[in-house]
């Protein structure tokens, strides 16, 4: 097992060609550590996070992530009041085919996750 499951190598991103938000960023996050990313406004902290989550493709360099990523945003607002089970079920998006609906197995997995955190009664 790799001791640095998250690695950035010469990473850089530019929203417009030539206008780099950051460049040549290399780092490795050690397993079990708490990693803080500090910097002034506009220095690319959120951009780096979006790249890490796969929501943005980096302009330069690579990101290596071992296993799966989870992200807890500071602010989360949904337009519609989905049930707790509906929300957790959305986490199965990668397992559900493009033209398919979540199966009973997906619902069971979502319920199991809720159960694990002792909040199944909110489903």
């Amino acid at each position: 097992m790799n001791n640095t499951p998250i690695r950035f190598d010469n990473l850089g991103h530019a929203y417009r060609p030539g206008h780099w938000v950051f460049q040549n960023y290399s780092a490795a996050v050690r397993r079990g550590s708490i990693f803080a990313l500090l910097g002034p406004n506009g220095s690319g902290k959120t951009t780096l996070l979006k790249i890490l989550l796969g929501a943005l493709k980096p302009t330069a360099g690579t990101v290596a992530v071992e296993g799966r990523m989870a992200f807890v945003p500071q602010l989360f607002q949904v337009t519609f009041d989905y049930s707790v089970l509906d929300m957790v079920l959305m986490g199965r998006a990668r397992q559900v085919g493009l033209f398919s609906q979540p199966s009973a197995q997906d619902e069971e997995a979502a319920m199991a996750s809720l159960d694990r955190f002792g909040i199944a009664h909110f489903a």
Partner: protein, 186 residues
């Protein structure tokens, strides 16, 4: 705002067509602009039915993914959704449905604003239930309005006029009711 701009542009095209049309075609154009089912026949049903059924069948398979899209682009993308491609596919499919319907019955407005919100109040926001419910309710609503004018009023009032008369106050009421609460199950 995009709707206002696109609407204004295409209204200009409609005005252009009206201005260069032969006088004998004007009554038909006027009725089409009001939105009507007058003159419905098997050919028109086929023009509406085939594209609507095909596009709806594909849209229905995407219906759970609408939940993901409603989370916003960033969250949907981190869940593995190809947001851009899915959005364009949905816009294209909905455009096919709307174009085929408007081509035969003209402008029947307000249905798309009123019915989905009513359906959401009935079955909640999960698009797996919401989409088929809204489709069924929408069809029943329009047919009900048209039947009402024919059976009760015994007049040939264009359904587009009635849908606006019923739809406008209904949307105002729903907006007022949902202020600060979001659209949800009541």
């Amino acid at each position: 705002m995009a709707g206002v701009f696109v609407g204004a542009l295409f209204m200009a095209f409609v005005s252009l067509v009206v201005s260069v049309s032969d006088d004998s075609h004007l009554p038909g154009i006027a009725y089409w602009l009001l939105g009507t089912f007058v003159g419905s026949d098997a050919k028109k049903v086929a023009i509406v039915g085939i594209p609507t059924l095909c596009a709806s069948a594909i849209l229905m398979t995407f219906r759970w993914r609408f939940n993901l899209l409603s989370l916003g682009d960033l969250d949907a993308r981190t869940l593995g959704v190809n947001v851009g491609a899915l959005r364009w596919a949905v816009i294209a499919l909905v455009s096919v449905i709307i174009a085929s319907q408007v081509a035969v019955s003209g402008v029947v407005g307000w249905i798309g604003l009123v019915v989905p919100h009513c359906a959401r109040m009935l079955v909640g926001p999960d698009h797996r239930r919401l989409l088929p419910t809204a489709a069924l309710l929408g069809a029943l609503f329009v047919l009900g309005l048209d039947d009402f004018t024919r059976a009760v009023l015994r007049a040939e009032i264009p359904v587009g006029v009635l849908s606006a008369l019923v739809g406008t106050p209904l949307v105002c009421f729903l907006l007022w009711k949902s202020q600060g609460k979001g659209w949800g199950r009541e």
